[in-house]
Symmetry: C2
Subunit: 400 residues, 2 copies
C-alpha cells in the first residue's frame, strides 16, 4: 500500500527507491525485557543513550533556563530540538556555520529533532495542507513558508541531529468542532505514510549518516494505527515513534493507544512516544514497551512553580511553604534540593526572581532524569513491576 502511495507522491520529487540494506545511523540493543518493558541501549553518532530515556526539550536550541553543563551534570543523555523554530530562528545559514545544532547550542551529546510538522499545525493557525506539504505564515515575521517532507529532511540534515523525525500530519483528537472521524484519521494517516516515504528518499539522497524515525499515526483508531505501523515497518526505518497522543484526548483514550501501539512496534528498533508526559504516564509508557520520551512538563511546570517530587507534586507558591526549611524533595540529590529550601524557592517566586524558575527547572529535569535512572536500574534487576507499584504508591502519598 505504501509503495504505491510513495510512488504517487514522489513522482514530482525524484524516483522512490527502497534501500535493500539501509545504513542506519543508529544501533539498538535490547538488554533486558520484563513484560512489554525493555531496558535498551541506543548508539547514535554523538553518543550512547541508555533506555528507557527522557529527553529534555530545547525548543530554540536551549533547554529553557538550563545550562548545557547542568544537563550533563544531572545525567541527561539526549536533548530534543524543534526543527520549525530553528528553521525560522536563527535560520539555516547560521546553523550551517556551526556545523549544525550541537556546536551552536554547546551540547556535544545526541540530539533528536522533530520534523517541524507539529508546530506548523499548532502555531501557525491557518496552515494550508496539501499533498506537497504545508504552507504557513511565519509567526516571527509573517513570511510565507512551505514545509515539505524534503525540506524537513534538508533542515534536519543541516541541524545534523542524531535522530531525524519524518514529517507527518499530527491527527488531532478533535477539529472543526467534532471528534476526528475515522475517514479523516485515515486520510491524515495515509498522507503521513506518503510523506514518510518521501522523507526516506530525501534522507537517503542527502546521504544523511544519522537515524530516521517514522511516526505511527491513525488517531484513536486501532486498526488505522496497525495499518500505519505495518507500512512504516516495511520502510525499514531506524526507529519508530507513536504520534498523535497527548493532543487533547481524555486520559483513558491516551492509555488505550499507549496499551495498543508501542509493543506492536518492531522489537529490535527503538520506540519513541512523542510528547508524553507526566511521571505516571512515562512509567506507564515504559510498561507498554516505550524506550524514549520527551515532554515540556518539567521545564514549563518549573517556570510556573509546579515541582515534581517522589511523593507527589508541590506548588511552591502555596503559603504553607513560606517558612518551610526543608528541600523540595528530601530524597533528591539535585543542586536545588542540596542547596536551597522550599522557603527560599517560595521567596524567589514571590519576588519574581529568575533564580526561581532556574532552580525549579533544574529540579524537575533532574527528577525526570533520575526517575528514568531508577526505571533502568529496576529493569536491570528484573524488578520493574515492583518498582512501578512502589513508584505509584509513593507518588499518590502526597508531599509532607
Amino acid at each position: 500500500m505504501i509503495a504505491s502511495a510513495a510512488a504517487t507522491s514522489t513522482g514530482q520529487h525524484g524516483e522512490f527507491e527502497i534501500q535493500a540494506t539501509a545504513a542506519y545511523g543508529a544501533g539498538f540493543e535490547v538488554l533486558a525485557v520484563e513484560g512489554h518493558a525493555r531496558r535498551g541501549r541506543l548508539i547514535l553518532r554523538h553518543g550512547t543513550v541508555e533506555t528507557p530515556v527522557f529527553m529534555p526539550v530545547g525548543t530554540h536550541g536551549t533547554v529553557k533556563a538550563i545550562l548545557p553543563a547542568s544537563l550533563r551534570e544531572m545525567g541527561a543523555q539526549i536533548v530534543l530540538g524543534n526543527t520549525f523554530h530553528l528553521w525560522l530562528r536563527p535560520g539555516l545559514d547560521v546553523l550551517q556555520r556551526f556545523g549544525g545544532l550541537h556546536g551552536f547550542m554547546g551540547w556535544a551529546g545526541p540530539i533528536l529533532t522533530d520534523s517541524g510538522g507539529f508546530q506548523v499545525w499548532s502555531l501557525s493557525g491557518a496552515a494550508q495542507i496539501s499533498e506537497e506539504g504545508a504552507k504557513f505564515a511565519s509567526p516571527v515575521n509573517g513570511d510565507k513558508r512551505l514545509l515539505t517532507p524534503e525540506i524537513s529532511m534538508q533542515i534536519q540534515r543541516t541541524l545534523n541531529s542524531d535522530v531525524v523525525m519524518q514529517l507527518d500530519e499530527c491527527t488531532p483528537f478533535e477539529a472543526h468542532g467534532h471528534l476526528t472521524t475515522e475517514l479523516e484519521a485515515r486520510h491524515s494517516m495515509e498522507l503521513s505514510l506518503r510523506w514518510a516515504a518521501r522523507c526516506k528518499t530525501e534522507f537517503t539522497r542527502l546521504e544523511n549518516p544519522n537515524a530516521l524515525f517514522g511516526i505511527v499515526q491513525g488517531g484513536m483508531f486501532e486498526h488505522l494505527r496497525e495499518a500505519s505501523l505495518e507500512s512504516l515497518v516495511e520502510m525499514d526505518l531506524a526507529g519508530y515513534a507513536v504520534g498523535g497522543v497527548s493532543v487533547g484526548e481524555p486520559k483513558e483514550e491516551m492509555l488505550r493507544i499507549m496499551a495498543h501501539t508501542p509493543h506492536r512496534l518492531p522489537a529490535h528498533k527503538p520506540r519513541y512516544l512523542m510528547g508524553v508526559g507526566t511521571p505516571e504516564n512515562v512509567v506507564e509508557g515504559v510498561a507498554q514497551g516505550v524506550d524514549m520520551f520527551d515532554c515540556v512538563l518539567p521545564t514549563r511546570n518549573g517556570r510556573n512553580g509546579h515541582l515534581f517530587t517522589r511523593y507527589g507534586d508541590l506548588r511552591i507558591r502555596n503559603a504553607r511553604y513560606q517558612t518551610d526549611d526543608r528541600p523540595v524533595d528530601e530524597s533528591c540529590a539535585c543542586q536545588c534540593c542540596e542547596g536551597f529550601s522550599r522557603a527560599y524557592l517560595h521567596h524567589l517566586d514571590r519576588c519574581g526572581e529568575m533564580l526561581g524558575p532556574m532552580l525549579a527547572s533544574l529540579h524537575n529535569l533532574h527528577y525526570y532524569v533520575n526517575l528514568m535512572r531508577e526505571v533502568r536500574e529496576a529493569l536491570d534487576a528484573r524488578r520493574f513491576a515492583a518498582f512501578r507499584k512502589q513508584f505509584e504508591a509513593d507518588r499518590a502519598r502526597g508531599v509532607a
Copy 2:
C-alpha cells in the same frame, strides 16, 4: 560636633556611650600601596576578602539569574544584600529561622548589607523623614512602615551580614526642581551623622559581632564631606563608605568627589564607594584609594544584552552578531565565553530565552570579578599605573 549631635538624637533611644575599645568584626590589612591605590585584605566572620573587590548585588537574597555556585566558581568573594527588600520579603521571621541571610540564600561567604535607607528614598516615593527615621508605605502591600537607625541595626543583626551599613540619608544631587543647596546638604549630612551615632549604640547594644561601616555624605560640597568624615572617624567605626555618589550627578561632579573623599578616609580601615560603577569608574576608584565597590550594572546590563569586554562594550542585539561565531570576549575564561558564541547569544536574545540573560549576567559578573583580580595582581607587582593605562587604552579600542 558629632558628640553633641549624638547625645541629642539618642536621648530618646537610650544612653549614648563611646566604646573605648570597640570590638570590630573586621580585620583589615594594607598589603601594598601605589599612589592612593591600595592592595588590601579584609577579614570578616564568613571569610577573607582580597581588596580591591567588586561585590555582586543580590537585592532579594539572589544575585539575579546566577547560582551561588557560579559566583564561587568565578571567584566572587562577597555579595551584597538589600536590607529594605529582605525586611519586606521574606521578612525577619523567615530569615531568623535560617540564622540569617547566608543560610537562606545558600551563600556561605561574606555578605554586606546596606541600611535600607537608599531604597526608602528611591522606591517609596513619599517617605516622611524625621529625626526619628523614615516613614513609608511598603511597595509590596502598602503597609505603613517605620525605618529608624535602631530598626536598621536590628534587621541587619537578624540578617547576620558581615558588614553592616549605618542608616543614612542619601543626599540627592537635585530634588524639588533644584540642585541640592549647601544648607540642604549640610542638614542631610548632619542627620546622617546623628543616625550613625544611634546605629553604633544599637549595634553595640545588640552585641553584633560583625563590622559596622559609616557613610560619608555632604553632597557635592567638599567641606561638608570633610566635616562628615571627621565626625565619623571620631566614632571609630570598622570601615567607611562614600555615599551620595552616582545619584544622578554629571560625570565630572562624580569624579571630583571620588578625587576628594576616598584617600582622606583612615588608611588602616577599609573604604567602600557605594553604587559605583562602570569598569572605568571602578578602576578610577581604585586609583583614588577605594577598596570595595558594588553596582547593579553587570547584572542589569546583562539582562539587557549589554556585555562588558576587555575591548569595550558590546550590544548583543546588534544585527552584526547574528552570524558571529566568536565568543563575547576572546580573552575571557568565563563559562559563557568558553562555551558559546556571539551568534548564539544573539539568537537567545531574539527568542527571549532565559539562558540569554543567564549567560550575559555570568559573563558580566566574571568580567568585573576578573578585572579586580587583574587590579590586585597589578598592585601586588607595583605596576598599577601601567595596568590602568593599558586598561583604558584597551577599553577605548572598541570591540572587533
